[in-house]
């Protein structure tokens, strides 16, 4: 097998959420660390869409930020074409590497500078990486805007003159400006209406076919993920619960959390299947349960799940971190 385009190895990050030093000393408290991402590993092949799903607070966006370098990992590393990103973040080579990564953010109302013309927003990566002359740059901006379904004349307008969907197109044009290979999309459609969401998702698929892009697609919407992804990682409380092909995840889910999540999706087909009641909520990451982090909500949990942390293991085509699956307890139940 060839080297994956992006490889994430044992990535962890903790945030220090302690009270100020003086309070700690006076009140006799210890430092409090929040483990937002805990020992996460996955890899993404070229031309593939890898999706991460999970509830709020599961660490999806933190992973996105770690990969593009907006946050530094506490431990673990990210490899892009086999090159470590944390080892050489400074210098010209890192900058060259950075150019090939871009990010699309969730909220197109916050991610575009309201005081800049659209043309300047889209041209910013070109200016930063100094790849073209001024004239070439203007032409390129026009091309990019037509590529995402806007007209080159729109470059003279300001972001507030566009609707949410059009703004997200501008954000995509900006991401494409530096000719990236890899785009991290952090909930790119969750702020949009369904009909506009369909336009943006179709556009993203078309661009992937045309430009051979690789996506890391982060979402909480399982039906969107099913539509977009080749492979899916299910994240729960900062840990990977299951990694599977998109097809097998929806047909043959392994981890009890994935089952719960899929059963909870409202059923548009109205097959009238009784919905399984969902138990509990995601626990506080400040005080995660011992053993398997899912054990307080898991119908299959036993003593081993409460003490021993499960590792990701391969079951058929699917990686899952679950003792119940390993012992076959899920089939018995």
């Amino acid at each position: 097998m060839s080297t994956p385009l992006l490889e994430v190895k044992n990535l962890s990050v903790s945030f220090d959420v302690s009270r100020p030093w003086l309070n700690r000393k006076l009140e006799g408290q210890d430092k409090v660390l929040l483990k937002a991402v805990n020992d996460v590993s996955f890899s993404i092949n070229k031309g593939e869409t890898f999706a991460i799903v999970g509830e709020s607070g599961s660490g999806k966006s933190t992973i996105a930020r770690l990969i593009v370098g907006l946050l530094k990992p506490s431990s673990g590393d990210v490899f892009f074409e086999g090159k470590s990103l944390s080892a050489g973040l400074e210098g010209a080579e890192a900058r060259k590497l950075r150019r090939r990564f871009q990010m699309i953010f969730q909220d197109p109302f916050a991610s575009l500078n309201p005081r800049w013309h659209v043309a300047d927003i889209v041209a910013e990566p070109l200016r930063v990486f100094k790849t073209e002359t001024g004239k070439q740059r203007r032409e390129k901006v026009g091309e990019l805007l037509s590529l995402v379904g806007l007209s080159p004349e729109d470059g003279a307008k300001f972001p507030h003159q566009f609707s949410g969907g059009q703004r997200q197109r501008i954000a995509i044009a900006r991401a494409l400006a530096a000719n990236p290979d890899f785009i991290v999309c952090d909930e790119p459609t969750s702020a949009l209406d369904v009909s506009v969401q369909a336009q943006i998702l179709n556009l993203m698929k078309d661009l992937q076919d045309k430009l051979g892009l690789t996506y890391l697609f982060i979402s909480h919407d399982l039906s969107v993920v099913r539509h977009m992804a080749d492979r899916i990682g299910v994240l729960y409380l900062g840990r990977m619960a299951e990694i599977a092909d998109a097809k097998s995840l929806f047909v043959d889910r392994q981890h009890p959390y994935t089952r719960m999540l899929l059963d909870a999706v409202p059923d548009l087909g109205m097959t009238g299947k009784p919905r399984k009641p969902v138990e509990g909520e995601i626990p506080s990451p400040l005080d995660p349960p011992s053993g398997c982090v899912f054990n307080p909500r898991c119908p299959l949990a036993n003593a081993r799940c409460r003490t021993e942390r499960p590792e990701l293991r391969l079951y058929g085509p699917t990686w899952a971190a679950c003792h119940a699956v390993e012992e076959g307890r899920d089939k018995a139940a």
């Binding site: 369904v194 998702l201 909480h220 109205m270």
Partner: protein
Amino acid sequence: MSTPVLSVEGMTVQFPTRRGILTAVDDVSFSIKAGEVLGVVGESGAGKSMTGSAIIGLIEPPGRISSGQVFLHGERIDTLPAEKMRRVRGRKIGMIFQDPLTSLNPLYTVAEQLVETIRTHLPLSAADARKRAIGLLDDVGIPDASRRIDDYPHQFSGGMRQRVVIALALCADPDLVIADEPTTALDVSVQAQIIDVMKKLCAEKGAAIMLITHDMGVIAEIADRVAVMYAGRLAEIGPVRKVISDAAHPYTKGLMGSIPSLLSDAERLTQIPGSMPRLTAIPQGCPFNPRCSYAFDRCYIERPDPLPHDERRVACWLYDKEEALS
């Protein structure tokens, strides 16, 4: 047939602005029976929330209901003076808003907020009101309600807060609950719990629910009938099964096709070209005509009214019988 709990007839909401009068809700009529859940769907700006606010008389001036009537149990409520309307609101109509954090006061405990609301509407002593409040929290599925009731809103998680808001809306056993995007801010697993709570309460207390949302999945799960709004008008209204599996209005068809499904393997989603017109620039005739692939001459001139078609009402000239005959 008994009188419906809520009946809205030809309601139009307008906002006078410097650039002319904006019509946010345009000639909308529907009714909800006791124990029924009416889902109202549409994209942002379609006038869903405005319809809800208009019914309970919470439109910010200078906006106003410029024509039409709203009846609660056959009694007209859109013309009630503010003081009387306030007594209807909360007592007979409960509201659930999208963001549970902003609809609870962070400075008061849940108990104080519930007891205050209960005692405003019902003649109960403080102790009885507290008992009722604990009962309500139990009903909406808050574990250990008698202890949690003295917590502040920030001590609850998002899903639990939304349950408190539902309890607050149900304080006085209202006949009608207007829920404006009650599950939008929540994760799917929590959303499923909230839907279950609402379904159960509706069945037990026989309250009518008007559920405003943009999520078709939620509608399919809980609603009996669904109204699809577009540019302030009703595009289609009818039984939920009919509308979802066999949409008649071209807009509903497009909307349904644009939702990615967990079951099917469509390579591309159906997309409706363009976006919803701004309220300042609603086209003549049918407001959907610039985006509609079926549009013909009549659609650009004459505005369609919702007409009966196959157990529902559809505002589309494609279903006008007279036209079909000629």
